[in-house]
């Protein structure tokens, strides 16, 4: 099977505590996957490892057709290779406008010299408008992103990820703190995104995961407990015990 991301046998300990324990995980090039699990299951740590923020003690993380190892690379390199990440709380640059935020994320050379001489042309402005429209921020282009509502910030961040044109998108709890209407729109956005790239969504909310209608991976104590459709995993007695039963 040709997978885009292949994580195998990864372990990481923090001061003797095994946050990730012999974890293996695969995702295809255009697949939507939900990752669920109780608090402290290691979901965020898993994303930290893939994006280069945390170095695992053991295991392999391979990406793309050429199976590039992500382990020795910096966060910025991994991002340039094609892994985008959305954090648990919205992190946009509040002091800058929606346009500035999107321009910064737009796929282009990232080195200081190139950036210094880079000036947006008509094509870039059009692309920014298109992205803003896609995440429902067409009217807010000139506003400082700090003024946006919580949900709008989440979408701006998704817009920025789109602008990066990643091949793999890791999304940590996108629906947290959103209103019902905002959640529905977010679901639609993620499903749409996964048509052209791999998307991994970490979420607590079962209803939200159910609406995504995709394969689900259940993490528990740093390794995979179950995998399959939402109905399959919610029927698994072990899953019920560690997660749903509480």
């Amino acid at each position: 099977m040709n997978s885009l991301l292949e994580v195998s046998g990864v372990s990481v300990s923090f001061d003797g505590f095994r946050a990730i324990n012999n974890l293996s995980f695969q995702i295809g090039p255009a697949e939507l996957r939900a990752v669920i699990g109780p608090n402290g299951a290691g979901k965020t740590t898993f994303m930290d490892i893939v994006t280069g923020k945390t170095r695992p003690d053991a295991g392999r993380v391979l990406f793309g057709e050429k199976s590039i190892s992500l382990l020795k690379r910096s966060e910025a390199e991994i991002a340039r290779i094609g892994v985008g990440r959305k954090f648990q709380r919205p992190t946009v640059f509040e002091d800058q406008t929606v346009t500035d935020n999107l321009m910064m994320a737009l796929k282009a050379a990232r080195g200081p010299w190139k950036v210094l001489f880079w000036r947006p042309g008509a094509a870039e402005h059009a692309r920014v408008r298109e992205l803003a429209a896609r995440v429902g921020l067409a009217e807010a282009l000139a506003r400082k992103s700090g003024e946006l509502s919580h949900g709008q910030k989440q979408w701006l961040e998704i817009g920025m990820l789109l602008a990066q044109e990643p091949r793999l998108l890791l999304v940590d709890e996108p629906a947290a703190g959103m209103t019902l209407a905002e959640r529905e729109q977010t679901t639609a956005m993620l499903v749409d995104l996964a048509k052209t790239r791999a998307v991994v969504v970490v979420e607590h909310d079962m209803e939200f995961v159910r609406r995504l209608g995709c394969k689900v991976t259940v993490l528990h104590e740093g390794s995979v407990l179950a995998e399959g459709s939402i109905d399959h995993v919610t029927a698994d007695p072990r899953v019920i015990e560690v997660y749903l039963g509480r």
Binding site: E75, A76, D95, Q96, A105, R110, V115, L116, P120, K144
Partner: protein, 408 residues
């Protein structure tokens, strides 16, 4: 020019600087009525150089969020580099004139020897240290004004940023760098005349016939030009995506990494660029000051620089200039001893001593109550117009401002 249209503050700044330069020229003894003294022209010229290093500080701290407390070291290095040529070339003129009296024409070695013992007699040495190798050449020393600060900043920055030293630890490290450099210079065998430093820098070799009153105006013009160019350059640097990225690094550098930007590379770039600007500022400052010694690298000097920028308002270039000009002019007024003491009965306020307290107090008050600094006053004027959404950056800690803006 698209850039100037989008950044009207640049034109305002250049216009004000031009008017100021013209006014000083018309009042200076060398070129105008003489309403102000030559030494005051020099003070103003020096102030413009300080404004230049404040611009650099604003880029590195106000925009990129790196609180460097070492930029005055780069400033002083610039001064030393130009001072070496000045001392060498001036002494050469003197030695050649004095040896011309002797019956046999002096050899090159004799001249070189003469210069060395003239310059280093004060530290009990008579040979030319290696680091004076290029001192005879103006172009070489001018190149070193740029290269030495750049190289030092690159090496220091590479070591510090690569190991992700940030925040207060980085500030302490830059202070340590400054102190180490000063202590090294204080030694007689540093080759830069120890605590004597370099002196007589007000005399420009080859221009011995030009009176100081004229020379002071020339240097004033050069300082104004350099400040204008530095302002244009930095305004251009922060106007585009580069400015966006460094402000983003200031606010959340981890997030910038996940966007794919090499954060350390950007920091290094900004650190080195601002070190170069500081060096050039110093090279223009010290010929107007006349003397440079290791005390100029005192760690406190770099802290003052941060205070100026904070009072002026970091994160906007004209704020930094306002801070440097106003605070440094006030400082030389208060410490000049011409401000009348205030007798309070039980004690007397000597401004020479109490100015520091006043400055410290101003710093605390600005930090607490006016994070936008003096530059914020400009907002009061432009605030009459509809809010400019592309406005200048806010300081890192001014969350309250954003909330207020959100209600507009």
């Amino acid at each position: 020019m698209d850039f100037l249209r989008k950044n009207p503050s640049v034109l305002w700044f250049l216009a004000i600087l031009a008017v100021f330069t013209l006014a000083v020229t018309l009042m200076a003894p060398g070129t105008g009525s003489g309403a102000i003294s030559t030494s005051f022209v020099k003070t103003l010229g020096k102030t413009l150089c300080l404004a230049m290093v404040a611009l650099a500080m604003d880029l590195v701290w106000g925009y990129a969020g790196i609180l460097s407390l070492g930029h005055m070291a780069f400033f002083a290095i610039g001064g030393y580099m130009i001072g070496m040529w000045q001392m060498y070339a001036r002494t050469e003129e003197i030695v050649i004139t004095s040896l011309a009296q002797s019956p046999i024409p002096p050899t090159a070695t004799e001249i070189h020897q003469g210069i060395a013992s003239q310059i280093f007699g004060v530290v009990g040495s008579s040979h030319m240290p290696e680091i004076w190798y290029f001192a005879h050449s103006l172009p070489a020393q001018l190149a070193l004004v740029v290269l030495v600060p750049a190289l030092l900043a690159l090496v220091f920055g590479w070591l510090a940023f690569r190991s992700r030293v940030a925040g207060v630890y980085l500030s302490i490290l830059t202070q340590a760098m400054t102190l180490a450099l000063a202590l090294w210079l204080f030694q007689n065998d540093s080759g830069l005349r120890g605590n004597n430093g370099l002196s007589g820098l007000q005399n420009i070799p080859g221009l011995g016939k030009v009176a100081q009153e004229t020379l002071s105006v020339w240097f004033f013009w050069a300082s104004a030009l350099a400040l204008a160019l530095a302002y244009l350059l930095l305004a251009w640097v922060v106007s585009g995506k580069f400015g966006s990225v460094i402000r983003a690094i200031r606010d959340d550098e981890q997030r910038v990494r996940f966007l794919g930007y090499p954060v350390e590379g950007f920091k290094l770039f900004v650190f080195a660029l601002t070190a170069v600007i500081a060096g050039i500022g110093g090279a223009l400052y010290y010929p107007q000051a006349g003397i440079i010694n290791p005390a100029e690298l005192a760690p406190i000097a770099s802290i003052y620089l941060a205070v100026w920028v904070a009072i002026g308002g970091r994160g906007r270039l004209y704020g930094a200039v306002m801070g440097a000009v106003i605070v440094s002019l006030l400082s030389s007024w208060f410490t000049g001893g011409r401000v009348p003491d205030v007798p309070l009965g039980f004690a007397t306020i000597h401004w020479v001593d109490w100015w520091q307290v006043l400055l410290g107090l101003a710093f605390v008050l600005v930090t607490l109550f006016a994070p936008r600094g003096l530059g914020g006053l400009v907002d009061l004027v432009t605030g009459l117009h509809p809010p400019r959404r592309h406005g200048a950056a806010l300081g890192p800690d001014s969350g309250s401002l954003q909330e207020r803006e959100a209600q507009e």
